[in-house]
Symmetry: C3
Subunit: 405 residues, 3 copies
Amino acid sequence: MSKSTDQNERLTRVGPGTPMGELLRRYWHPVAVAIELDENPVRKVRLLGEDLTLFRSESGELGLIGPVCPHRCMSMAYGIPDERGLRCAYHAWLFDPHGNCLEQPWDDRANPEAHFRDKIKIKAYPVQELGGLIFAYMGPQPAPLLPRWDLLVRDDLDRGVEIQPIPCNWLQCMDNSFDPIHFEFLHAGFGNYQLERLGRPQGMTRARHVDIAFDVFEYGVYKRRLLEGQAKDSADWTIGHPVLFPALLSIGDDVRSGLHYRVPVDDTHTVQFAYSTRLREPGADPKPIGIEYQVIFDDNGNVIAPIDTTLKQDMVAWVAQGPISDRTQEHLSSGDKGLILYHKLLNENIDRVARGEDPMGTIRDPAKNQMIAIRRSREHDKPFGISNSLEPTLWRNPEKAPSAV
Amino acid sequence: MSKSTDQNERLTRVGPGTPMGELLRRYWHPVAVAIELDENPVRKVRLLGEDLTLFRSESGELGLIGPVCPHRCMSMAYGIPDERGLRCAYHAWLFDPHGNCLEQPWDDRANPEAHFRDKIKIKAYPVQELGGLIFAYMGPQPAPLLPRWDLLVRDDLDRGVEIQPIPCNWLQCMDNSFDPIHFEFLHAGFGNYQLERLGRPQGMTRARHVDIAFDVFEYGVYKRRLLEGQAKDSADWTIGHPVLFPALLSIGDDVRSGLHYRVPVDDTHTVQFAYSTRLREPGADPKPIGIEYQVIFDDNGNVIAPIDTTLKQDMVAWVAQGPISDRTQEHLSSGDKGLILYHKLLNENIDRVARGEDPMGTIRDPAKNQMIAIRRSREHDKPFGISNSLEPTLWRNPEKAPSAV
Amino acid sequence: MSKSTDQNERLTRVGPGTPMGELLRRYWHPVAVAIELDENPVRKVRLLGEDLTLFRSESGELGLIGPVCPHRCMSMAYGIPDERGLRCAYHAWLFDPHGNCLEQPWDDRANPEAHFRDKIKIKAYPVQELGGLIFAYMGPQPAPLLPRWDLLVRDDLDRGVEIQPIPCNWLQCMDNSFDPIHFEFLHAGFGNYQLERLGRPQGMTRARHVDIAFDVFEYGVYKRRLLEGQAKDSADWTIGHPVLFPALLSIGDDVRSGLHYRVPVDDTHTVQFAYSTRLREPGADPKPIGIEYQVIFDDNGNVIAPIDTTLKQDMVAWVAQGPISDRTQEHLSSGDKGLILYHKLLNENIDRVARGEDPMGTIRDPAKNQMIAIRRSREHDKPFGISNSLEPTLWRNPEKAPSAV
């Protein structure tokens, strides 16, 4: 039940030209929270193994272009935003969000007839803002539509984002999301052990899994669990929790829901945008989006924070498998059928892309994309009694969040 | 008199399958002080180039097993001690100290007839506790006996351990121990120069070496020195100081003696367990073992502490030869005959192991291993007037040591 | 207009045996400020990819020798200065500045007839002190003369040195010095943008370049600029600013002048000795040389200081091109003719050295080397109104500089 090295490489490598890199380039990925550009409108970004420069021009237009100026290879991260794009700090060449060189101040006046700037392009990818996030698309044109998941577009929600750098391959995060039974062991078992070692009360009642199941649907997979003592008509078993293809976990219920985007930075680094929403109380004013950076690991993957929430326990499990988990050494069991299914879907969709087809979940019909409602259980079942642990830090730190609810 | 690259590799490399790695795997090596497991009963250990997990079960049994769970490659360093062994944090698979998988909670109830756990093993090495230290053996079975050196087993001694990470190859530490004349130069000369630069009084009277000699015995080599002004019946010349094969320096006299274990972590890292004993005063209560961590170097091998003791001067000499000393560039002289002898013994014993024989100092007769007394001079001759420098920090910091003597 | 990988390697690599390494080894390079040896007379030095040990003997003689003792490869950075040279800390072997082994204390008395020390040499390079700097020469003998630039030898100047580690290849620093027009964009444009972001007043009036020109002379190249509104008889256009071959920028005017030595540490590291002088006021006492260390970048090349001076803006431009700028990706324009000329000179002089000839600027006639006066504009034209930015930090921090003027 273990994989060959080739199979593991095929599933994990994200750089340009790799099979998985090509599949992932058919989707939009978040690269920043829009308000991150307020203080400094130019940021280095690394996505799918490529170094890039994200910026907002003085007119408010977003751009995602190559890391260095084509003139003398100066980093564009020092660029100066202009009305029409971003200027290199060194000689003020100006690039627009489409990668065109609009100005070369010295050559434009010293040698205008040469039209040298018309020969110059910088790599550029489309970006779009939605729900307070900035998304990028790095695949071939025409780009599919950026999915308008309900949580991104509903006007009755307040929003926050926790940003977590994860020093390991992205697939470890996703494998975890396709594995319902770890909840019983990693969160109830190990989680309680950690809390006990920290001298804190137990966080979670341990409930045994009776069954797990997985249903493929248009946008991904619903995972379902049945726990000891749970009726078969519980929403956990009848509806379950969706994982959206290729790398997005949907969590929560009707009142508090979230989307956990796992963004492959490169083969051994991931960043999670843990996007949280909360139903606004009737009559209340909308709150500006909150943002919080959470660094749980040092550069060597060692934990540098208490492992006191389910999310942190998950992150520890991801990173503790190493920079890229050596799946040639693993022994999958009957509890791993969710991630076996997921790997099968990934492989099938790699093949679809290789055949020139759109992969699973591609949206090209604007009518379907007004707002894509994800079916969720009506209210959280709290089978593990974990409502507190699922509550993102964001809402529990009033001084950091927009305001306490 | 310099070595070829191949000869240097043969003497220094410690990984599995290397000639020296195979020789070193025929001996027990300390990996921790037992009390280090009191606060956290699970620790990462790296020994002879292998990553491992040391633990103490809830029933008090010690285990040293592979670094990751065979299920999904999660680090066992996050494991939870159980009555019978160590559970993986992710899905609670339970392993005993022999590497057997005793439980797979999900599979055991979902799919018990498959007996999947019987197909699963994790790497496991025997460990034993003696004299407050935990020793591991990584070679083929049957394992030799763990040597019961007198200082580890006598009941009239109090004990302490200084633990020093050394960012260089282990052989540099041992070469130093087979080189009596460096004492005159590194400790008296350079040591006094360092103390002078620190504005402190001279630490050592400089005495010239007149002769050096080496006697191979059953467990290693006695090195002897004769200094200017010393009579030929002095214990330094008639008895000398033993180095125990393969990597253990014995120091001191009848009152204060020590064992300096140099443990090869990997090719470029060593950890020294500087084990100190002191004769308990008649009628006094036994003291619990003391422990102190001493970090003298940063990751680049730069000294980050004053070089004010003989032990620190030795450590500087080891590390200042680089991660692995380039012995193809060295020019050994007549003063290096001790380490030339030592390298010859190492090479001979590599060959013995290759022929399937037990190497030097292997103990298999329990009768001989009740307590192995090492002959020492009756009291320290103090030829260099260095009694203070040899005093380990442990005993000089009453607040850190068990209690001041 | 971009280079091949081979062409870029040829221009940038500085190790022994590389074409550029051989050219650079025909010149003297500063390795320390003499007063840096006052506190500790022994220092590690890395120059042109070679690790070395700089020392001052007890008699005051300077030496630059190999990094490790030929005996047991112990680092000579722990050496003990002696009347006649430097002793290894381990066994006190003594080396003079010419690399001879003068003493081996143990072998000299145990085995004197072997004359073992006569068979031992350590690598040694000539060093000379001039103007408060220590210069080294690593090429073949006979060494050319150490150039006695006027600023190093005049007796009417006070002096200071800022030492700046630069985590990138040396050529990026020099390319910048051969590029007059960046001043308008990097300093006026980007510099003002940085000051604005820091909430400080604009530092520089932006003046447009009308023309640039370059004149090769015996010791290097004069670069000239003509700005909008500047008369053609201005010193900036009639004289210009000299860059001395191969890697020395001359700055300033008759009152405050400087020499910016860019010293190639290895392929991806440079150290700048920014040597500043100031005309001493009539009747004033000479001031001792000042020294200041400026760390602008972390190990990853990220800026860790405000970018608030022209010198820091230049350093950002150097380092932001990466460890070695990928000149296969650059697109040089008409404004880059200065650095195109410089690369041509470098290539021609690499060829001269390969033919066994002295390269450009080699000085072998002592009569010419009494004092080499560099022609400068009579007083600074301040076309950009930047006198403050050019003022080295040294003189603006009275508590750090010798004394405020």
